[in-house]
């Protein structure tokens, strides 16, 4: 059953002098209980998609078009009060660096109670407190620590508490934006396992946003690769890893350091560190950095090409 259907979503940011496209025609589907990873470098638009789904974009963002279908509704057309009934109850989010945003002067458990009672005012404080303890069990923090202050938690515990907060209202979909960045590898691995386990047990759909293709591959059924505001490749994770088709995906995998070299590293290909200036929306965004770009790439618009029922790539070379 399709839970989420994003169709040609385009979001731009207005600045004083210009409008910068952040997401350009993103389309994807997510089944109930499945997970999809959005991977790409800083500034490629992955967080903007997440914030767009939550309708929490900053005031200078403009949704230029598209549709976000979520269990029969178009979220983009919902009035604000209706959206408030979707937010957290149906779709919740693990915000980037949220563990550092816990309020230092309130106990962590109280902050989760606040989240629950904001969305369900009819739930009593003591029922909400019981729910917090249940959530703590789920994320493997001792119940006795529920009403400690954030500074008494380690980084991993704070991140678990943030996951508990995202789960607090039983959502159908969790958007996890870089949930393991800034954690060390061992804690990162524990958090990834926890998210996978909860996703599976509670049958929650997850959108996992990360710059780290390795982390995304550990968690997600499907992977979407983004570059400069566009989804350039999407497919089952096995397909994207075994037969990466877009030159950017290939470069991204080539630059991924693994401990046992499963991904073949070709040191001649590394992703660039810079975006070269403004690009025309009509041509491929990777053109300046693509080792395989031809003259034809400069004149024609890339097309989606289906490599399998689930795997597709947006590139003018792969036709």
């Amino acid at each position: 059953m399709t839970l989420l259907e994003v169709d040609k979503l385009s979001i731009a940011y207005r600045t004083r002098t210009a409008t910068a496209a952040a997401v350009d025609g993103a389309s994807f589907c997510l089944e109930k209980g499945k997970s999809v990873g959005i991977v790409g470098e800083s500034g490629c638009g992955k967080t903007t998609i997440g914030m767009g789904l939550m309708r929490l974009l900053p005031p200078n963002a403009v949704v230029q078009g598209g549709r976000i279908g979520f269990s029969g509704m178009n979220l983009l057309a919902l009035p604000d009060d209706r959206m408030q009934t979707v937010r957290w109850k149906r779709i919740s989010m693990i915000f980037q660096a949220a563990m550092n945003a816990l309020n230092p002067v309130h106990k962590v458990g109280d902050q989760i109670i606040e989240a629950i009672r904001t969305h369900y005012p009819e739930i009593s404080r003591s029922d909400a407190a019981a729910r917090v303890e249940q959530l703590y069990e789920m994320v493997d923090i001792p119940r006795s620590r529920a009403f400690d202050y954030p500074h008494q938690y380690s980084g991993g515990m704070k991140q678990r508490a943030i996951i508990a907060m995202a789960l607090s209202c039983n959502p159908d979909l969790i958007i996890a934006d870089e949930p393991t960045t800034a954690l060390d590898v061992i804690v990162q691995d524990q958090i990834i396992r926890k998210i996978k386990q909860i996703q599976h047990e509670q049958n929650i759909a997850v959108i996992f946003i990360s710059h780290d293709i390795g982390v995304v591959a550990e968690v997600c059924h499907d992977i979407m690769v983004m570059y400069r505001g566009r989804i350039v490749e999407s497919g089952r994770r096995e397909e994207v890893f075994r037969t990466p088709a877009h030159p950017y995906t290939q470069a991204l995998l080539a630059s991924y350091l693994t401990i046992d070299g499963v991904v073949d590293v070709d040191f001649t290909q590394t992703p660039p560190c810079e975006y070269p200036g403004e690009i025309s929306p009509e041509i491929c965004g990777y053109i300046e950095n693509c080792p395989r770009a031809t003259d034809a790439c400069r004149t024609r618009k890339p097309q989606w090409r289906e490599l399998s029922a689930t795997h597709k790539v947006y590139c003018s070379l792969c036709e």
């Binding site: 470098e41 060390d184 061992i186 059924h221 350091l257």
Partner: protein, 283 residues
């Protein structure tokens, strides 16, 4: 100070049985008796021109060791010798001279660059502090360092401020600042933990290139064994303030002896699904 390395002593840095304990300074008179042992008898040697990896999770003591080697903190016991000289007995001019030769690339380029200083001023500051070069020569050294850090054309970056740079560019500016004095020894403390995976890779390649071009010795502090394997000649794995294992990077990863090293290896993304014929159900 310019102590020549003794011919029988090719190690640029010798760390011997270093101990460091932090006192829990809670309470009005800071009298609470609790202590935390950050380093418990750590020993290691780093050879000239080597990239040595110190690998451990948060709280293992790896950053503390880096700070002790820089003489930013005092140690409780042990000795740290740089070119055969005990650094913790250095004072005054000798200490300042030592600091010229040992530089650091800090962890977070979003916090370590002064937002009010342009790239040129940031990179030139060490030269001014150490009265290193005449003004005319200074701009050439700054330009060389910025170019060596991979920001080209270097002059185009002179007047940029940190907020005009991407994370990777900021870290390159920090690398230029560390390299401008032509140090012998550089400590890179998690230099890519704030950067994207693909940008990290370009920074690792840059460090390897600097070693090759300038013969700089590196102490590379990281929690990422895959990065250590890529960059380092030898690594030491540190856990709870003790070195549990050290040796050539490749052999430690292929044949880990301690449980902790094994745990670090297991925590790395392995793409295990790639090896399985059928799609593995999520567990």
């Amino acid at each position: 100070m310019h102590t020549e390395a003794k011919p029988d002593n090719p190690d640029i840095l010798e760390v011997e049985r270093v101990k460091k304990t932090y006192r829990d300074e809670r309470g009005l008179f800071r009298t609470s008796g609790e202590t935390l042992t950050a380093l418990n008898g750590v020993s290691l040697n780093i050879g000239r021109g080597e990239i040595f990896g110190l690998v451990g999770a948060s709280g293992s003591g790896k950053t503390t060791l880096g700070r002790l080697v820089l003489h930013l903190e005092s140690m409780d016991a042990g000795s740290i010798r740089f070119h055969g000289t005990e650094i913790h007995s250095l004072k005054g001019a000798a200490l300042k001279a030592f600091r010229r030769r040992v530089q650091m690339i800090p962890q977070d380029p979003y916090q370590s660059l002064n937002p009010y200083m342009s790239v040129y001023d940031t990179v030139a500051e060490p030269l001014i502090i150490h009265h290193d070069a005449a003004k005319e020569k200074r701009s050439q050294l700054v330009e060389d360092a910025i170019r060596a850090a991979g920001l080209t054309p270097a002059k185009a970056y002179f007047n940029r401020y940190p907020h005009q740079l991407s994370g990777g560019q900021r870290q390159r500016a920090a690398i230029a600042r560390a390299m401008v004095l032509s140090p012998d020894f550089v400590i890179a403390d998690e230099p890519t933990s704030m950067l994207d995976a693909s940008i990290s890779f370009t920074i690792f390649k840059l460090l390897a290139e600097i070693r090759k071009q300038r013969g700089v010795t590196f102490l590379f502090i990281t929690h990422d064994l895959a990065a250590a394997r890529f960059l380092c000649d030898r690594i030491a794995v540190i856990y709870h303030g003790e070195i549990v294992e050290s040796g050539p990077a490749e052999s430690i990863i292929r044949h880990p002896q301690s449980d902790y090293t094994r745990a670090l290896i297991d925590a790395q993304p392995r793409f295990s699904f790639m090896k399985q014929p059928h799609f593995r159900e999520q567990t």
